[in-house]
Amino acid sequence: MDFFNKIPVMDRTALRELKKGIDLSFKDFSRAYGDGIEGFFDPLLYFLIWLEKLLVNSPWPLVIGVFALLAWIGSRSIKLVIGTIVCFLIIGYFGMWKNCMATVAIISVSTLVCIVVGIPIGVIMSKSDRTEKAILPVLDMMQTIPSFVYLIPIIMLLGIGKVPGLLAVCIYALPPVVRLTNLGIREVDKETLEASIAFGATPMQKLRSVQIPLSLPTIFAGINQTIMMALAMVVIASMIGVKGLGVPILQAISNQYLALGMMNGLAIVALAIIFDRVTQQYGQRIQKHRGQKK
């Protein structure tokens, strides 16, 4: 009877030893390789710092001008450009300029990292069903595991700072671009692909001249999602030392500052909407010649 009332449990001391063993070996690992790994991420750190300084130190009208121009290039919509300018003016007016620029910097860098890492992974995934099956569960895990859980090893390894924050953001934001690159390439019309092969394209030529261009709209939807998820991580990243709009929100939580929290939260929302609309409209614009007839 006892068996049915009590679930089999590992022996207490053995369990404690197991956990301790894992912790210790990871500590040894981080002591041995921590510096090396940190050194590996140095270029990324310098780039992030450089971008942040550039955004903060440049004259604000110039920065807003550049954003407006980017919004125009992406969307070709006057409304969106005006909306962008107004949003940034309001953010500046309420004293959130510096934090906002820090957030823009880390979002840009992490999105860039996700694109550089994610698209090749997506391409490899689309090559065979077996790699897809192997990579999918990893992506599921990255998206569902509570971020605090992977913050622990990252902090043990790299300490607190910009790079661990960046990594945390990337882990969370990477899956959509990988998934949608894979999906986009798999969705390319079979006959179009056959045509490319029949005329003697090498696998690389096929990828570059047909598969990537035709899946760009889908890939762009993935990049859009990646940016959104990166923004969602801003507050958590600020817990481990990333500057930006998340820092005042953390303060607001611990001190119950309603207005401060709201303002910074809305600033994140504004950034999200601008990024989302611009990238979405760009994605739609590049499929002008696909799909529907004129």
Binding site: A195, G200, T202, H289, G291, K293, K294
Partner: protein, 341 residues
């Protein structure tokens, strides 16, 4: 040496095709194989020869394996067993690079749903094969413009495929296949997606081009009229088996089995059969009244001179190009050739 030679090719789709191969070779039917092993037989012991400069039409209903067969020629699909020789080269023996080179220079292909690149303009589409061959952009555009002109699309070269109608899109597909100037052209149901008028138009265009270019064309279709019009030889596939190969007249006059018979049952024979096929040779024509004859060329189809005969109630005197009398056709010959069965 034949231009294309296919020897005992088998293609089985499924998880472990090799294991099923002996059963197929033992003569089990497609249905039995599917029941027993969950494998689909695509091609079952297909052998055929296609000569240089001819149009070979491969015909069958959907699922008969014709699209599978054509994809074996440029190895978009690999056979489970058997050899494919193109100009004496076994394509199965080619290395990866060799195969790519072979596809670039030996064969081009036209697709049922066109297979155009929607993100490229017409001229870029037409030049794609040339780009793969490594030609410079200038040279590409020059050749592409010639081919665009040849298919009658001048003025559309800067448009994108989906700005064109179906017929025009397939002309782009045809121009793309012509541009690489390969000896062999594969056409996979190239005109099946087009409406009847445009299809007939495209068939004529293909015949005109072929009269000039003399390429080896392998043409897939499910339309008997199309195959009779285009083919020098026709091969008929049923459930992965090649049931008959022959000239259009062979197929219509002597169907090999019930399947082919059902196919040719409704065909307008007058459209297919030439005067020289049914005539009684001049030296055996004693019983035919030669007082009231009209002259017809030996290569004319019955359809072309039938109205004349009916109106004038006369017999035919069949002559060749030089005007020599080759034979005669009376009502008796006409009747027996046009009656079904």
């Amino acid at each position: 040496m034949s231009k294309i030679e296919i020897n005992n090719v088998y293609k089985i789709f499924g998880k472990n095709p090799k294991s099923v191969l002996p059963m197929v070779k033992d003569g089990l039917t497609k249905e039995e194989i599917l029941d027993k092993t969950d494998h689909t037989v695509g091609l079952d012991n297909v052998s055929l020869k296609i000569e240089d400069g001819e149009t070979f039409v491969c015909m069958g209903l959907s699922g008969s394996g014709k699209s599978t067969l054509i994809r074996h020629l440029n190895r978009l699909i690999d056979p489970t067993d058997g050899d494919i020789l193109i100009e004496g080269t076994n394509v199965m023996s080619l290395s990866a690079e060799g195969l790519i080179d072979f596809r670039r220079h030996k064969m081009s292909m036209v697709f049922q749903r066109f297979g155009l690149f929607p993100h490229k303009t017409v001229i870029q589409n037409v030049g794609y094969g040339l780009e793969m061959q490594g030609k410079s952009e200038e040279e590409r555009n020059k050749i592409s413009m010639e081919k665009i002109e040849a298919v009658g699309l001048t003025g559309f070269e800067k448009q994108y495929p989906n700005q064109l109608s179906g017929g025009m899109q397939q002309r782009v597909g045809l121009a793309r296949a012509l541009a690489t100037d390969t000896d062999i052209m594969l056409m996979d149901e190239a005109f099946s997606a087009l409406d009847p008028l445009i299809r007939s138009d495209m068939q004529k265009q293909l015949l005109d081009l072929q009269a000039e270019l003399k390429k080896t064309i392998v043409f897939i279709t499910h339309d008997l009229d199309e195959s009779l019009r285009l083919g020098d030889h026709i091969g008929i596939l049923n459930a992965g088996k090649l049931v008959q190969v022959g000239t259009p007249v062979d197929i219509v006059m002597n169907p090999a089995d019930e399947y082919v018979e059902a196919f040719v049952k409704d065909v307008n024979r007058a459209k297919v059969i030439k005067a020289k096929v049914i005539m009684t040779p001049a030296n055996e024509s004693n019983g035919i009244d030669k007082s009231n004859v009209i002259k017809v060329n030996e290569d004319q189809f019955i359809e072309e001179f039938l109205p004349q005969i009916v109106c004038t109630n006369s017999n035919c005197e069949v002559i060749d190009k030089e005007g020599n009398i080759k034979g005669y056709i009376s009502n008796k010959e006409l009747q027996s050739s046009l009656l079904k069965s």
